[in-house]
Amino acid sequence: MLLPRLLRVGAFMVKELSRGGCTSISRTGCTRQHWRPFIELQSVPRVFQGSIFQKYPHFSTTAENDASHGSNKQKDMINVTFVDKDGEEKNIKVPVGMSMLEAAHENDIELEGACEGSLACSTCHVIVMDMDYYNKLEDPTDEENDMLDLAFGLTETSRLGCQIVASPELDGIRLAIPAATRNFAVDGYVPKPH
């Protein structure tokens, strides 16, 4: 089951690379250093820092509303684990209603989001590491699938981080950031239970 899937993913990548996803860039070159918009900069001028927090106004509002709702704030948070490009895990708490892209950015996790969640880039590609959780997600819309078509290292449990919204049944979900998964796949890494 796994082998043909990986083969297919591999062939997809080759096709996409030659089609112009990232043409003359070597595989590792596309993804080696993931980048986050200026979040780490300490000495950036104020205009810049401000801009980071203005970036996802709609997400933040949702998050705040949900988090401050009711007396027990914990109840409205779920546990999410991101596995980064080096295989390192980071557990975070995400308020219900917040997208995984926004959650990643609030927690300094290196996940791109070039189009800020408007379904025009696929740089927020994540891989749901557990099929059970993948199945709990609503099916991707046509528009999400259109962008997933262009994602590097697509797998059968790939989703766009900006489209996964925290909800109680997703408590415990594990998401791999594809650079990592891709390297793992090369090394014979087996994503969790398939």
């Binding site: 089609r19 996803g21 250093q33 025009a120 046509d142 259109d146 962008m147 078509d149």
Partner: protein, 492 residues
């Protein structure tokens, strides 16, 4: 990495007498992502972005179609505006500047720039076209899609195209990539839907009076190999009251096609959309309905000249093709020796963009790109990676060729900036660049001596507000200024 930091802080210091002077040529996505990543990776870097136009953002302003819908209710902005906002934040960084109206190759030469800056990154895109090299390509009415796109998007070099949309009811578009779909959509979309976009107003007026009712999108290979993406295809198929025609037998797949589709999700989904559209189409167009015909397995052999209007195109002479060789993903079209004509009064060639070299720049004419390894410019096209042009880098379409969406350039810039960092770290740039360079002040001095008036970002902001003001009078997000004269007048 730490070693590098230490070395850098010794050689270059932030905002002091000796910053790392970086010049990025071109302010499209590749240029802006490069600037952003350079500023982030090098606290001691001062980044100047130059562009030949008074306006920044490259194809984000002059390529991306005006009529893409807003994508999601929760983010009611267009991709274009999102990206422009991001790029504007980059240029507002205190170590970054934008100078429009500065052309590499005429305002300043490459060797001058390299003397002025420690690092020069070329990201000036692809502003020419692949040619077919067949008879009749120069006939009146045969245009490149690039020119047509510039025309409807109000690029100051596009205004003069003035395509004749009134003498014919049929246009043929060669190629089936996303650009081909963009231009077809602009020709076919009801003009009332374009009225509230930022399409150039002269273009809207011309489209309003257009007599073109039928558009043929012609590919040399089959529906499984169509170069467009599902998103764009869905958009054109969704045009209101459009008759779509695809020949049933073009949809027949070979075993190799099946294999290709199994391997490639995007090809599978594009094919499925096409076959669904074919199945749901009515057999005949209704009266007055606009028509879109997908034609596969035809390669242009020559353009036909009109008998009545000499010098004008009246059709395309196609050779039928079949797919050969290579196996899945590598099938190419070969002529079968059978020919067929398609009558039309306008042709848009949408077979790919091509970059143009500047003096003193190594250039691979065949591929239309600058020879490079991970963004480092090579001295020649032999691929010898030891022969690099010190301090010279490349990014975006000029580096990879004219493919990929806006976000692809983010990865591309990451790679180029990674190479710059490595070179700084390893001291490759040290001998020449440890010394102070004149950078911005030197460039401005040189431009002043030549009477070139650069347009800074603050002046672009004036242009932007004027365009928005003019737009608000017409219920449009903006009314683009489309001549150098108007742009420069508002900028001062």
């Amino acid at each position: 990495m730490y070693k590098a930091r230490a070395w850098l802080s010794r050689s270059f210091t932030a905002l002091s007498s000796n910053p790392l002077r970086v010049c990025v040529v071109g302010s499209g996505p590749a240029g802006f992502y490069t600037a952003e990543k350079t500023l982030k990776a090098h606290q001691e870097a001062q980044v100047d972005i130059i562009d030949r136009l008074p306006t920044p953002f490259g194809l984000v302003r002059s390529g991306v179609a005006p009529d893409h819908p807003e994508t999601k209710a929760s983010s009611p902005k267009k991709l274009q505006q999102i990206v422009i906002n991001q790029f504007s934040r980059v240029v507002q960084h205190e170590r970054c500047s934008f100078f429009g109206n500065v052309t590499l190759g005429s305002s300043v030469s490459l060797s001058e720039l390299r003397q002025l800056y420690h690092v020069v990154v070329l990201a000036y895109g692809a502003e020419s076209d692949r040619a077919l090299g067949i008879p009749g390509e120069d006939l009146i009415g045969v245009h490149s899609a690039r020119e047509f796109v510039w025309w409807y998007n109000g690029h100051p070099d596009g205004k003069n195209l003035s395509p004749d949309l009134k003498s014919t009811d049929t246009a043929v578009i060669l190629g089936q990539g996303n650009v081909a779909l963009d231009v077809a959509r602009i020709l076919l979309r009801p003009t009332e839907e374009l009225a509230t976009t930022d399409i150039a107003s002269y273009a809207w007026t011309a489209l309003e009076g257009s007599s073109i009712r039928k558009v043929y999108l012609v590919g040399r290979r089959g529906p499984v190999q169509a170069a467009c993406t599902a998103k764009e295809l869905r958009e054109i198929l969704g045009i209101k009251n459009l008759y779509v025609h695809i020949r049933e037998d073009d949809l027949i797949k070979s075993p190799t096609d099946e294999e290709e589709m199994k391997n490639s999700r995007i090809q599978r989904r594009v094919y499925e959309l096409l076959s669904k559209a074919a199945a749901s189409a009515s057999s005949q167009p209704m009266l007055g309905q606009r028509e879109l015909h997908f034609v596969f397995f035809r390669k242009p052999d020559s353009f036909l000249e009109s008998n009545e209007r000499s010098g004008h195109v009246s059709g395309v002479h196609f050779e039928k093709t079949a797919l050969k060789g290579g196996g899945p993903g590598k099938q190419y079209a070969v002529g079968t020796g059978e020919f067929e004509d398609l009558d039309c009064g306008m042709v848009l060639k949408s077979i790919g963009y091509k970059s143009v070299p500047v003096n003193g720049l190594p250039f691979d004419n065949h591929k239309g790109i600058v020879p490079n390894i991970r963004g480092r410019v090579l001295k020649n096209i032999s691929g010898d990676s030891s022969q690099v042009e010190n301090g010279l880098y490349v990014c975006g379409w000029l580096k990879r060729g004219p493919t990929g969406i806006i976000a692809t350039n983010l990865y591309c810039a990451e790679e180029t900036v990674g190479s710059i960092s490595e070179d700084l770290e390893q001291g490759v740039l040290a001998s020449s660049s440890g010394l102070p360079k004149p950078g911005r002040e030197g460039l401005l001095q040189l431009l002043d001596n030549r009477n070139v008036r650069p347009v800074p970002f603050s002046a672009w902001e004036k242009i932007d507000s004027e365009e928005k003001r003019l737009g608000s009078l017409r219920n449009k997000p903006k009314e683009k200024l489309t001549t150098y004269e108007d742009l420069l007048k508002v900028a001062t």
